[in-house]
Structures are given as C-alpha cells and as structure tokens.
C-alpha cells in the first residue's frame, strides 16, 4: 500500500473512500468534487511531490450498473511512487458527468482531459479549451468509447464520410502554418481579422 494513502486520509478525511492494492499498484477512490484540491496537495506537498501526471482516463463497465470511474494516474519521480486516483460517477442520471479539471495542477492534463472528454463525454470544469481531440471537432455521433456506442458508429458510412469531408481541419491554424493562402476564407472571422491586422512573420 502506497504510504500516500494514509497521508491522504489524514489530510482529507471523508473525501477519501476505499483504497485497494492490485498487482502492487495502489488505487484510491476519492470524491469527485474535491479532486482538484487533492491533486494540488499531492503535487505541491514535499512529502508527496507527485509531479508527473501520466494519464487521465475513464472506465465504463459492461454490466450497466457500476458507475463510470474517472481515473488519474500520478507518479512521484522523487519518491518513486505510483498512485491511481478514481472518482466514481453513477450512471443513473442523478449526477452530471462533470469533474473538476486538474489543468491548474499539471499542464499536461490539457490534452489528456480533452481525450477523455472526446471518448467518454466527461466534462472537465475549469479546463481552458475543452474540445474534441481524436475525432474532429464537429463530430456528432456521440462519444465512441461509451458502452452504448456501437463499434461502427451511429450513422451510415456515407453519412460519416459526408460529415468527415465537411469538417475543416485547418480552422485553427495560424497563418504561418497555412502555406496555402486559399484556405484563408475558411477561417473564422475573428481569426481572419487577427491575422490581417497582426504583422505576420515571413
């Protein structure tokens, strides 16, 4: 059992629920609402110093009864420890699928939380730029890794293709990245404004 568990219980008390050790890896179940302050303490406190966020992901079980778990994998390089934090969100509709974002603690959570949002639909409150990352931004079929999402997607193949071709992959590029100026008209209006007003290098 990772010694952090006792330290967490001492510090946060009721927010820490059960802890288990599986294959020598410790998993701690915590309250979803307090995850941000728990992570902030884990990262800043010198006796814990979990300075590396490995992954943010989610688990949905097939039986339809167990709650969705949002998982954080954190590592302490200084103390050579690994900890898995899990927050359970019941699927019965009583709780919205939202958890606080840990972007303020670890900047690496940026894309990790975007991926978790894209695949599971979990909204990370406080994330600066929560949009889809693996699927295109206007993807309308849903959240692919949910258990009620069929493998081949919800729309027909020709509909998927039509929507994919209508997506504009260059919408957020800067002028330096766009080597073809004929995509300029496709940019959003505020971006066009900004690019024409700013001095563009090269």
């Amino acid at each position: 059992m990772n010694p952090t568990v006792d330290a967490l219980r001492a510090r946060f008390g009721g927010a820490i629920m059960r802890a288990e050790v599986v294959w020598s890896e410790t998993t701690v179940y915590v309250e979803a609402a307090r995850i941000a302050e728990i992570c902030a303490w884990l990262e800043s406190d010198p006796s814990q110093s979990y300075e590396y966020l490995s992954d943010v992901t989610a688990v949905e079980y097939r039986d339809g009864v167990r709650p969705i778990e949002v998982v954080w994998h954190v590592r302490s390089l200084k103390h050579r420890r690994f900890l898995r934090l899990k927050a359970e969100i019941p699927k019965d509709g009583s709780t919205p699928l939202r958890v606080p974002s840990v972007h303020g603690v670890w900047k690496g959570a940026d894309w990790l939380e975007r991926e978790c949002y894209d695949m599971f639909g979990i909204v990370f409150e406080g994330h600066p730029d929560l949009r889809r990352i693996l699927m295109w931004e206007q993807y309308k079929e849903g959240f692919p890794l949910r258990k009620d999402f069929p493998l081949r997607g919800r729309f027909s193949r020709s509909e998927q293709l039509k929507q994919a071709l209508a997506a504009n992959p260059e919408a957020r590029y800067s002028m330096e990245e766009l080597s073809i100026s004929d995509a300029f008209e496709d940019l959003p209006a505020d971006m066009r404004q900004r690019l024409t007003n700013e001095k563009v290098g090269e």
Binding site: R62, G64, L134, M135, W136, E141, P144, K147, D148, F149, P150, L151, R152, G153, S156, R157, S158, Q160, L161, A164, L165, A166, A167, N168, P169
Partner: protein, 214 residues
Amino acid sequence: MGLIAKPEHAGAESVASVSYSPESQEGWVTTRLDMLVNWGRAGSLWPMPFGTACCAIEFMASAASKFDLARFGMERMSYSPRQSDVLICAGRVPFKLAPVIRRIYQQMLQPKWVISMGACASTGGMFDNYAVVQGIDTIIPVDVYVPGCPPRPEGLIYGIMMLQQQIKGERMSDTALRDELMPDPKSQLYIPPERIDELSEPFGNSVNQTRSAP
C-alpha cells in the same frame, strides 16, 4: 457509359471511349507519340508516399536496397503533391484525415494516378469501426489496389507494374481520359447512395457490432 462527360467532350463520339472506326483510327505518328509519352510517364512515376501506418514501412522497404524502387524511376519521393505523379496511400486513413487526402489529391497535377496499398487503404482492412475510412476509393479515384496486410514489397512492385501497363495502354485520342467524371443518374450502371448503404451493410463478425450494448 454510366458517367457524365464534360460538355466539350460530349460530341459526336461516344463518351469516354476511343472510336475504332477506320476513318478515325490513329495514324503511325500518333501511335508512336503515344508510345513515347506513355513510356516516359510509366518509367518515371514520381510517387507521393501518403504513408499513414504500417504499410508505409513496407513501402520504405520496397524503396530500399533489396527491392529497389529506383529501377522503376520511383526513387524520387515527392512530399509535395504538386510535384508528384502517383499517390501511394499506404496505411489506414481515419475519417479525420479524409479531407486532407482529398485536398492532397486535388493538389496533384494531371496526369495523376493513385495506388491504394494494403487492406486498410483499399477497404478499411480489419478496422471496420467508427474511425477508419472503409477504402480511400470512397474519397479519391483509385487506379490500382494492392492487397495485403501489409503487402510484401514484391506485391507492391507488382501493383506498380500493373499501373505501368495501364499507363502504357492510354491513348491521346481518348480525350476524356483525364477528366474526373461524375456518376450519371440516368445510366443503367448508376447505384443510388441509399442502395450503396444497403450493400455496405456489415457481414461477418461486425454484424454484431452495429447495435448498442444491451
């Protein structure tokens, strides 16, 4: 022939075909010129390696010393589509990449050909799911399909040689050859999109995977 010709080509001749009537048969000069031009094109196909996944490794292996692509004139890989002749799509193409590959194909200059290398580029391969395009021929016109997962370099080279044969069979009197034609709804060969959707219903194991979990 099932395709709508451009107005300037929909003349007295039949659409997108070579007329074999004796009056319009090509003379000695045009056939020699055809041979020269096609020999030049087939012998120096500059590939644009659109390698997305594992097939790209096999493409690199084909280009390397043991199965040399330089003997086909293809050693000069151009990553700019504007300087390439043949787009070799090696690897699976996700839906997110679909507008990109279409844009790259549109940027290539005529004459251009497409080789779809591997199972994923030809039909989606083993990835019959929400993210992978089920064959790039749904997005761009393909000339040669090379099956395999991944195809051996000999297989890819066979596909390239097949493309070379196809190029040598082109004739300059076939004016509509390089046009990109739209399907003609009035033709007997036309299949409406809804029917294509029916036909592309899943089979095999993926039959169980179109419905949601219980």
